[in-house]
Amino acid sequence: MATPVVDNPGALGLPYSDPPQRRAPRTSLKLRNALVGWTFVLPNFAGFAVLTLIPVLLLFYYSLTNWNIFGNADWVGLDNYARLIGDKSFHVALGNTFYYAAFHIPLTIAASLGLALLLNQKLRGAAFFRTVAFFPYVTSIVAVAVVWNMLFSPEYGPINQFIGLFVGGELPGWTVSKDWAMPAVIIVGTWRYMGYYMLLFLAGLQTVPAELHEAARIDGASVWQRFWNVTLPCLRPTMFFVTVMVTIESFKVFDLILVMTEGGPGQATLVLSQYIWQKGFEQFELGYASSVAVVLFLICIGVTVVQFLYNKRRDA
């Protein structure tokens, strides 16, 4: 009985091989299966295709035009993309986006998984703590920005006052310093989203069979071994989901930075989503902004496909 309960989630891979069909007429069964599959997908897909897919496809088209939101869009071919190559602000935004993602992704996954493991236990008050952990995501983003900015205030902020107790010399300027603004934003981003992803991990943890843990414990496995050999494999589909979502969301980060630093000081925290907004809605170059969005899309998809393939290899 002790073989891992979780079946191979092989459906993640792009090309799939047909499992051997044992039952009668192959083609009609295949057709029937396809039809059944489509009926499941269709209700959502209809809404999705019309409301999201079509506008997104239009975005790809607009990235090849000089559309300024009003009036007509003239075809300019790849001009917008050529312009991106020489656009220093775009390079800055791209660099900052990677900077944010490189730290935000691992920190958030570690923090949310840690929280989920902790709060999945039978602890007194766990319900309360779970609610608390989710609160940063619920609290108005304006309040979040205000409080963190005050905490980070170089002169009056409690954070620097605390650090000042141990360290002499110049203290970090946090959100009003070019070097420290991004770390500050990363800290707040992780703080805000850890409860959100904790929730997703918590759901995933419920699929880990207790018997497996029990069996492993009887076999003398340590806590760490049980986590590594039992929990983590069972959690793989959730882990994949969370990783993809955190990745995409960090590459798309926008409102948090907008309310905390507006991309400053200078361009220290300017990220791609904000650059899209700036170009599109402050300078009305939506055609050009669309090409930035396409680049952002390609990055996200690229990273996601890598994760797909990695995940598939682990499965195999």
Partner: protein, 279 residues
């Protein structure tokens, strides 16, 4: 010898709790600031350094918000939109997820990648074409537009699909042999087994819709249609903002979510492991 580990354990527990309480206090700090600010006058909200105790306590903000702002309408609209979106998202999302996770049809994985792909596109970059489309159908300036915007997102499909994949295929196989149709499997087996994921999806969709600002900003003009976030934004003028009232409204708007969350707790940790899945 035997006593020491227990003592150690006990100290560990106490330390753990102390740590968790400290962390909880830290995490709730912005919320505490919201509450405190909601009890101040406008010009007291932002000061350097922060005033943590309002002087005097101004309870009247909690009366004014109902007079100066149309909280009843805002809550009603936000509630309507959030409930409809959540129901549509959860039902169609989990239904489609079954199609992606447990059935096979040509183009399935490519289609799924398309779903994920759209998550990777910032909404701001395609909101204008989308707005033009919905406007041409006469849906701008209606609550339907906000419902449609949010209800068919890829997030729910992705979340549920991943969850279904951690439910063994052997279960479905057994059910098929028992003569259950695919729809029956979804309804009788998958849904009951995926309660924690459904609960997560429900609360996340609800909160996201509840707190959405940019969507209502673009689509809604009439006062009767405003949501809470849009309504509160109207306390921000060109040169002035009524921060104290905004915070009062924010506190009130968080409370329903907090209550729903606390009450829905047990569903997040309802394990399928205890519902008799055997290998």
């Amino acid at each position: 010898m035997a006593a020491r580990p227990t003592a150690l354990r006990k100290t560990g527990r106490v330390l753990l709790y102390l740590g968790m309480i400290a962390a909880a206090a830290g995490i709730l700090l912005p919320f505490a600031w919201m509450v405190i600010s909601s009890l101040k006058t406008n010009n007291q909200v932002f000061t350097a350094p922060i005033e943590w105790v309002p002087d005097p306590f101004r309870w009247s903000n909690y009366v004014d918000i109902w007079i100066k702002g149309d909280m009843v309408t805002w809550v009603r609209n936000t509630m309507t939109v959030s409930v409809v979106v959540t129901v549509l998202q959860v039902v169609t999302g989990s239904f489609a997820a079954y199609g992606f996770a447990k059935t096979r049809f040509p183009g399935r994985d490519a289609l799924f990648l398309l779903y994920i792909g759209t998550i990777a596109v910032p909404w701001a970059s395609y909101m204008i074409p989308q707005f033009q489309m919905l406007s041409s159908w006469g849906l701008a300036n209606t609550l339907y537009s906000i419902m449609l915007l949010q209800a068919f997102g890829a997030f729910g499909v992705f979340l549920m699909k991943q969850y279904y994949e951690s439910i063994p295929d052997s279960l479905c196989e057994a059910a098929r042999i028992d003569g259950l149709s695919e729809y029956g499997i979804w309804w009788r087996i998958m849904l009951p087994l995926s309660v924690p994921a459904l609960a997560s999806l429900t609360i996340i969709t609800f909160v996201t819709t509840w707190n959405d600002y940019l969507g209502p900003l673009i689509y809604l003009r009439d006062r009767e249609l405003w949501t809470i976030q849009l309504g509160l934004q109207r306390f921000v003028g060109d040169y002035n903002a009524e921060h104290a009232l905004i915070m009062t409204g924010s506190v009130l708007s968080v409370l329903p979510i907090a209550i729903v969350f606390l009450l829905g707790q047990r569903y997040f940790i309802q394990g399928i492991a205890t519902t008799g899945v055997k290998g």
